[in-house]
């Protein structure tokens, strides 16, 4: 983002000169080719991402099973949603999951980034090892953790028995199924945010620390007075994208519990998927999507502001 600002100011100045030197024809040629290079993107993002945004709302006004003709029913889907206990529950479950995952991930990933910002032996090898969970796909990890959570021969149960405890049955119990998802998600997600924090830490000029050392600041003082304040924009960015990411989680719930036991892990995206593609209620699932969008719009607006803020820096 920073590169954009440093480069854009001189570009603007030079552009004025250039137009002056070569006259209108070059500006026209540039306009033509700019459009030419951009056209695929207009079509692509417009058709596959922006238009569906509006279509979601449109479809949500219909009753439609894909097999019959769509029937206009106005806001009925929204009224039904507001009385649907499953839907209300799924919002709560999504918040539970998102908050559980995010808060712990922020702490863990920042801690890891602080560790990896030091120089120590085999740092690069350790960094790769710590990053490995993020490399392999969530589908694979979901299966591996499904295996590890198995009450009779999963690792957790074996370990508990070895310590003299009973079998661990996290996925069967409505109270512990979600913590099991959260644990898996933190393990898979923390390395990603660690890397973002690490990039942020690396961007802090070393002079600041030198100056603080000269003034006799302790390591803790340097952390509280230099590192954390300067990391604030990165932290805000991580907060927003991790929340948006957590609200979209689907794969672990689908593979480990399929939303259960009961509805303990039926997050919003699971609710939308099931209503849309298992019960074929296109309109109803779309209405849920609209609510989902509205919830995330709040976070997205914050993200937009942060992105702009970083660009303006």
């Amino acid at each position: 983002m920073q590169a954009s600002t440093t480069a854009s100011a001189p570009t603007k100045r030079r552009k004025a000169e250039r137009t002056h030197i070569w006259g209108r024809s070059l500006a026209a040629r540039k306009m033509r080719f700019g459009l030419f290079f951009a056209t695929p993107a207009f079509l692509f993002f417009g058709l596959f991402y922006v238009y569906p945004l509006f279509r979601t709302f449109y479809v949500s006004l219909f009753s439609w099973s894909l097999l019959d003709e769509p029937r206009f029913i106005g806001m009925t889907n929204y009224v039904t949603l507001s009385n649907d206990k499953e839907f209300i529950n799924s919002i709560g479950v999504s918040f539970y999951y998102a908050i559980g995952v995010c808060v712990i991930i922020w702490i863990v990933s920042l801690g890891l980034a602080l560790v990896f910002n030091q120089n120590f032996r085999f740092r690069q090898a350790y960094l790769s090892t710590y990053y490995m969970p993020a490399v392999i796909s969530l589908t694979v990890w979901s299966l591996v953790w499904l295996f590890m959570y198995n009450p009779s021969f999963g690792l957790f149960s074996e370990f508990a028995r070895w310590l003299g405890f009973r079998d661990v049955r996290m996925l069967d119990n409505p109270a512990t199924a979600m913590p099991a998802m959260i644990l898996l998600s933190i393990w898979k997600g923390a390395p990603v945010y660690m890397l973002i924090f690490l990039a942020g830490l690396r961007a802090i000029p070393g002079d600041y620390y030198e100056a603080a050392k000269v003034d006799g600041a302790s390591a803790w003082q340097r952390l509280w007075s230099i590192t954390l304040p300067l990391l604030r924009p990165v932290f805000l960015y991580v907060v927003v994208i991790s929340i948006i990411g957590a609200f979209q989680a689907f794969t672990p719930m689908y593979l480990l519990t399929n939303g259960g036991p009961g509805s303990a892990t039926r997050v919003l995206s699971m609710f939308i998927f099931q209503n849309g593609f298992q019960f074929l209620k296109m309109g109803y699932a779309s209405a849920a999507s609209v609510i989902f969008l509205l919830i995330l719009l709040v976070f997205s607006l914050v993200q937009f502001r942060i992105l702009r803020f970083q660009q303006a820096e």
Partner: protein, 277 residues
């Protein structure tokens, strides 16, 4: 010198803590690898096996011969190659137009790209499916590939890199009478090669991992990619963990190999992009 001794002790403890963390983090991957070589006796015997009693390659043979993993692997490779190829073709062009050109609708395009980054994919799942369906693309390769032909974040990445390309190079090409296309392919593209490699890695990982869309858009076994194939396998054979793990290793191996081959660049790329799809 107690202070110095204290520091040394501290450093050793820190090293040990990092090592312990690395071991804990590696347990699931190592266990996956180990279990993929276990026979079903290893699983169901009363004593616990951390390692297979003997390397049981049969799981891998079963996964490819008795189950359709060879086909899933082929589909995954095909879809990912197509997605990476299209991203390499299109996103640098778009990034170039946003970085170096002024044209009507530029702001609108930026809004499109930003919106795509911020829109949760789940929220547009149904209309996107309806669009793909109206094209007749359900359960076809285009249906699996096209929604990911351009990564919005890839566009951003390219724009950022191309902004750093000096205008003078481009103008020099114009003075020499090169066409705009030639300027793009012979001046701009060679200058952003490192960024293209980063882009390829990031898109490769994202495409290889894509689950939800592939789950929705494939019907039956023929076009399933590895993640969907694995998921459907689990639905049917919930207790065949040794095969599940062998399949998981097959699905994990390509990404891990790429990661091990280009670790530093991989990490650099991810540091810039991570979190944004």
């Amino acid at each position: 010198m107690p202070r110095k001794a204290f520091r040394t002790l501290n450093r050793i403890l820190a090293q040990l803590a990092i090592l312990a963390g690395a071991i804990v983090i590696s347990v699931p991957s190592l266990y996956m690898l180990s279990a993929s070589f276990m026979s079903s006796q290893d699983f169901f015997s009363t004593e616990f096996h951390l390692l297979p009693t003997a390397l049981y390659w049969q799981n891998y043979i079963d996964v490819f011969v008795s189950f359709n993993f060879g086909n899933y692997l082929k589909n995954s490779l095909l879809v990912t190659a197509a997605v990476v190829g299209m991203n390499l073709l299109f996103t640098p062009m778009v990034g170039y137009s946003l970085a170096k050109f002024d044209f009507p609708g530029k702001t609108l395009l930026l809004i499109f790209v930003l919106a795509t980054i911020m829109i949760p994919f789940t929220a547009i799942l149904i209309p996107l499916f309806l669009i793909i369906r109206s094209f007749g693309w359900v359960n076809t390769y285009p249906g699996l590939i096209m929604p990911f032909a351009m990564s919005a974040f890839g566009v951003f990445l390219m724009r950022q890199f191309i902004l750093a390309v000096p205008d003078d190079y481009i103008d020099a090409g114009r003075i020499d009478g090169a066409s705009e296309l030639r300027i793009y392919f012979q001046i701009v593209v060679p200058l952003i090669q490192p960024a293209l490699i980063t882009l390829a890695i990031v898109v490769f990982v994202a495409s290889w991992d894509e689950f939800l869309w592939m789950l929705i858009v494939t019907i039956g076994d023929a076009l399933r990619t590895l993640p969907v194939g694995l998921a459907k396998f689990v639905e049917q054979y919930r207790t065949r963990y040794e095969l599940m793990m062998a399949g998981s290793v097959v699905a994990a191996a390509p990404v891990v190999l790429v990661f091990l081959a280009v670790q530093r660049r991989f990490l650099q790329g991810m540091a810039g992009l991570s979190g944004l799809k």
